[in-house]
Subunit: 306 residues, 2 copies
């Protein structure tokens, strides 16, 4: 039954991260042909923004070592956006060489995670990103900035909101188009999410330039999404079938499953453009490739019983 | 981090259903000594209202055949409430004989589920409940009424809100103290939940007399709870460790896990009286008794990695 709720948007853009954030954090290395089929099927299910891969060094993420090969075989369509993650200028060079028009950079709200994930201080990581963003913008690329650990950090505990806003502001001041707030370890709750979004607005980063990126480690991803929608956010990151996690963060489990998000949004009468049945079929197929059941509750509920 | 959100209550009463709704729907029959230990540990973790068992005929629910024996060994404390489910007058007789002071009856918002679960039409089931409630009230008992299938029914599909309100009104007109709205198959979303609560208020059943009972089949239980809190509800049903389901409803999986609920409420600065660490330890112990991992995300996240 579709029943709207006051104060929510009419339409939400789902930023699909399964092929990148999902597959990057799975033990199984999926062949490039299956990755391409995954992206094509996600697009056929109505997803229009699909983060496809990462130009990080294959030594760090062997799961995505085939980035160039994947981009080479993916069908291009003016209605489809394929952002790719680039960690540094070398990554940007590779993204440009492969015809990418959208990139994402990945910052941290905490010093400990910056050191562990980027091997740099926050300041050093921002220095590394500055020429990436500058060159990308000069080439006319769209640039998203991720900020991770925005609700808590496994080593530092609570992360002060003004510390997040400080990193966000420095990234957006470089000229990034969109900022994705990532609760990488899934500890946040709806009041904290609302306060984060309001603090960004107060610092000049309105909800129209924000996305939210929740992990379901503590089961909070969807209620946090509801709070974010109410605070004006209209772009939500999700991973088809709930695949992925974060190998560098303790106790981080999968991303919010796209299907669970779509179930809530469609129930609220919010348009996503997604065909849920096609999406579930795609996630069931990918779960077979990964050799384990999908962690998405909706995928489980809509799959035939054994 | 505890960050409140405007429009939510300061305190929420958790109505713990694990020993009844949880264990009733597990394949394993738990020995009475373990059930007693379960209830005692839940109380020690701070839960004050614990639905302990059901006086339904053992032929239908062998898992709870030891109801009288369990109540006989449970420690009594004026601060602890132990409601028990009673299906009919025979069940009420047994509850009274065992010193119960709180009972619950279990109605259905749909004809199909009434037939399948109660072997009666809705009208016939209400006729069966009327003398139960009348006699219970005459004895000074507190009476809760459940209404199941309030958001959808596996056989009938969407359930009109006025159909739910009609059954609710007839139950509350009997003199019941509290009405628990049950999304038995977990299909509801936050707009529908809000509309249901508002429709009950318009019919004279205010949010102060309502509880909500969500299943996490489609991952919606916690965002629906957030919507219910915003609509004024302050009593939330949950099952420690997320155990249980509903054997008579297709594709129904576990109840909202008490731990996942507590994580959100405490994050919102809402008082529950629950010690989360003790609760998680209790659910891990019960998961061992049931021979499978707890489906609660919080229990999984806070358990030592294998």
């Amino acid at each position: 039954m579709r029943v709207p709720l006051d104060g929510l948007p009419e339409r939400v853009t789902i930023y699909e991260v399964g092929p990148r954030d999902g597959l990057q954090n799975e033990d199984t290395i999926v062949p490039v042909a299956d990755k391409a089929e995954f992206v094509v099927r996600l697009a056929d299910a109505g997803l229009r923004t699909i983060e496809t891969t990462s130009f990080v060094h294959p030594k760090w993420i062997p799961q995505l070592a085939d980035a160039a090969e994947l981009l080479d075989v993916l069908p291009r369509d003016p209605d489809l956006r394929y952002p790719v993650l680039v960690p540094n200028e070398r990554g940007l060079d590779r993204a440009l060489a492969n015809g990418c028009t959208e990139i994402a950079i990945f910052g941290s709200a905490t010093e400990t995670f910056a050191r562990r994930n980027l091997n740099r201080t926050i300041d050093e990581s921002l220095e590394m990103f500055a020429p990436v963003v500058e060159r990308a913008l000069a080439k006319g690329l769209w640039v998203r900035a991720y900020v991770s650990m925005v609700c808590g950090d496994p080593w530092e505990g609570d992360v002060p909101i003004d510390q997040v806003v400080s990193v966000s502001t420095r990234l957006m001041d470089m000229g990034c188009s969109q900022l994705s707030l990532g609760d990488t370890i899934g500890v946040g709750t709806p009041g904290q999410v609302t306060a984060l979004i309001e603090a960004h607005a107060a610092a000049g980063i309105g909800a129209d330039r924000l996305a939210v990126h929740f992990h379901d480690t503590y089961g909070q991803a969807l209620s946090n999404t509801l709070a974010a929608l109410r605070a004006g956010v209209t772009t939500v990151d999700a991973s088809a079938g709930g695949i992925g996690g974060c190998p560098y963060a303790e106790s981080a489990t999968g991303n919010l499953a796209t299907e669970d998000l779509v179930w809530m949004l469609h129930g609220l009468g919010i348009d996503t453009g997604v065909d849920l049945a096609k999406l579930v079929a795609t996630s069931r197929w990918m779960a077979g490739r990964l050799g384990r059941p999908s962690p998405s509750r909706v995928v489980q509920a809509l799959s035939p019983k054994e």
